[in-house]
Symmetry: C2
Subunit: 251 residues, 2 copies
């Protein structure tokens, strides 16, 4: 009853790279990235890509197969726009197919993920498409938000604090409701939502506590009270922190 | 006008160790732990301590000064109990003094922190007491919750999901209100709050989605649907995950 042994499939590694500083990669991530025969990563068309940049020194001149998965559209198009959905769906399907070719061939792939693979991000679209067919191993990473509160020298949660992570794309009312119900908050996807976020923080009475972090742990890092920020919109790699600890008992 | 050069102070490193697997420590954390002349960590009286256990192999027989900061009380006493507050306040003050002695002497200290130093935990009490006087460098780490959702092979947030991190110590009504307002949730400090948490998840209509993780990425790890968990109370190192992604548009 035994036939030919099945050709063994390659493993897809979703490798969390952490917030940007290569020193903040884990020992496990470092090992996977420097030993995998195939490296894959998402990036904007025409850019090197942040994920690829993070590993550039450790790869050096090592020859590996590289798969650059280039987004067909940028954040210029609204996320719920039909013009965005269709090309991006095709893009993810094609990307999964490109990865499959190598996995079918028995080659392991290190798919580089900024931050943590299971905390937002494009890796999830590959994970959902490939995990039924191929072995997948996820290496967690330090989230971008953790890099930001470290860069800001600002503890985010104490004791029994509630922490809420909010995308800046939410409506003013939804932001306000969440901000009123939480001790600590992290607001992501600031960009062109900056003015709306400022209004919601003001309405919640917490504008003066908010900290703005741009490019946390990366070159060009900027940290300041949100009240001191003048430019708008903010760049993509920016985040707003609302530290907890207001009700702590033991000081 | 120049007098004696001031004796240089030691630096306090708050070192995030990540969720438990030593391979999930960062390269930076590994370097600080293996080079610092003084290692400090919190632990329960009479135990080795989880933080110390994580670094045991990498320290090997290297001779370092070790400072074990032993909690005078355990979680047996309620957190807002006066019987708890007073001894723990004294304990933190004495711990800060013990660390100061070495820092005044010019010795760097690696204070080991499970997870991420700025995300809950006892390090914050040392940070608040010592950062005005001594140089402090925080090395972020992978949070315990990130280790848990990786162990569960369960992405926690997609796209524009809201994530809420809740201590299980909250009241039933507070838990329910937060669960109703979020896409994804992480419930920490499960322990003897398990039955209350189950009721809140049921009232929010999300009991069947909840995942129970015990000792994520550590020896003795257990992952299962919360519905399959029979024992109560749960141990201290347990967490409940409510994954997001319900409203994702691109599949």
């Amino acid at each position: 009853m035994t036939g030919q042994p099945a050709r063994s499939l390659g493993t897809l590694y979703g490798v969390g790279l952490g917030p940007g500083d290569p020193d903040l990669m884990t020992i496990k991530a470092h090992r996977v990235v420097t030993t995998a025969p195939v490296i894959a990563y998402f990036r904007k068309r025409g850019k090197t890509g942040h994920a690829r940049t993070i590993v550039s020194e450790m790869l050096g001149s090592k020859v590996v197969i590289e798969i650059a998965l280039e987004y067909p559209v940028t954040t210029e198009v609204a996320f719920d726009d039909a013009e965005y959905i269709e090309p991006i769906r095709n893009f993810y399907a094609q990307s999964a197919t490109r990865l499959s070719t190598h996995l079918d061939n028995g080659e392991d792939i290190a798919l580089l993920c900024e931050g943590d693979p299971f905390f937002y991000g494009s890796f999830l679209h590959m994970y959902d498409r490939l995990r039924q067919t191929y072995p997948v191993i996820v290496v967690p990473g330090i989230t971008g938000m953790s890099g930001c509160w470290t860069a800001a020298a600002s503890p985010i949660t104490y004791g029994d604090d509630v922490l809420t992570v909010l995308p800046g794309t939410l409506s003013h009312d939804a932001l306000l409701k969440s901000l009123r119900a939480t001790d600590a908050a992290v607001i992501m996807k600031v960009g062109r939502n900056l003015d709306k976020i400022k209004k919601a923080l003001t309405a919640a009475g917490r504008f003066d506590e908010a900290i703005y972090v741009e490019r946390g742990t990366m070159q060009g890092e900027r940290v300041m009270p949100l009240a001191n920020l003048e430019s708008s919109p903010a760049p993509y790699f920016s985040i707003i922190l609302l530290p907890g600890g207001r009700g702590r008992r033991i000081t």
